[in-house]
Symmetry: C2
Amino acid sequence: MASIGVIGGTGALGKAIARRLAKGGHDVTIGSRSAESAQAAAEEIGAAGGATNDDAARDKDVVIVTVPYSAHAGTFAQIKDAVGNAIVVDTTVPLVPPKVMRVQLPAAGSAAVEAQGYLAEGARLVSAFHSVAAHKLIHDEKIDCDVLVFSDDVEARGVVVGLCGDMELRGLSGGALVNSAAAEALTSILIYMNKTYGADGAGVRFTGLTKAPPIQ
Amino acid sequence: MASIGVIGGTGALGKAIARRLAKGGHDVTIGSRSAESAQAAAEEIGAAGGATNDDAARDKDVVIVTVPYSAHAGTFAQIKDAVGNAIVVDTTVPLVPPKVMRVQLPAAGSAAVEAQGYLAEGARLVSAFHSVAAHKLIHDEKIDCDVLVFSDDVEARGVVVGLCGDMELRGLSGGALVNSAAAEALTSILIYMNKTYGADGAGVRFTGLTKAPPIQ
């Protein structure tokens, strides 16, 4: 069992991730700008508790950041000191509304590489959960989508792949943190496919892998 | 039946694409720096003929460019005038050897956007075929991988999705040309997965699409 803070955890993706992690047996604290909202969301989905983002990021094994791209830099600045040596998981997709079906990666190459710059040197950053549909994750239904997990910290990457399994998702390592660009860009393609090909949450599966975790 | 030139068609990917297109009933000319090599490759895989790249690009309905990234700019400069109003399909992945498992997209965002800059204004550029394994495509085996097709020219995009079907591949529109960044980046992830998860040509399938072409 890991102690996990979910920053921005009252949003659709954060709440869905928190719910699956709590159901998987982890000690989950939901973080929000308002401790009251966080507490209400925690009760709603069976998490251990709710707190401000800053408090939710403190003394945790894993801190998961689930905020819109417009709040990306500000949120990392806010939790930078609190996270200490925790594994920090960035889920941010650099969408530029209203053209969310158009890939518009930042100059740094990816939101994940930007996040690395926001944290202290030696921080244990992982990038994951870009492509799963929050409105499916919030229920118990099977998710027909692999989760790509990127990090330069091999141990941290393995921990997050393991958390995916606890959430009844197949996590797959996608290699170095810089490779997060692929998953971030792919999210715009999936949004495009939802509209073009009549999908209620298009997903992606990797094929031909003989040594990967089984599909859940 | 379309008249199709495959530039760099003596390489692994070009020859494999040419073979499937010829088998699908198209009039395929293989292009190479050497007309003799092109002719030999054409005989080997049952294409209609071989020629220099420049000749293979002339008077065609579709011109498919299959060259390594190091030859990308030079090849487009060479065929720019010859292609006229043909649909030009760029298959180039901007890999930077030896670190091919690392996403390293160019400053323009993608090889496809670079290619657009190399061609005349109004050229009908499509980007596709980044993720299929050439060593599988060269045989008749089933390819467990969707082909993403990108273009700002909706009609041209539809033509290339149709060509995928003729090659016994499922082609899917991925939207605007700029979205090619997703497929180009994904190729490094697939190379990484080949090594990490014991795959002989990892692939990718999109899920949850109710209105897409059937898997072949």
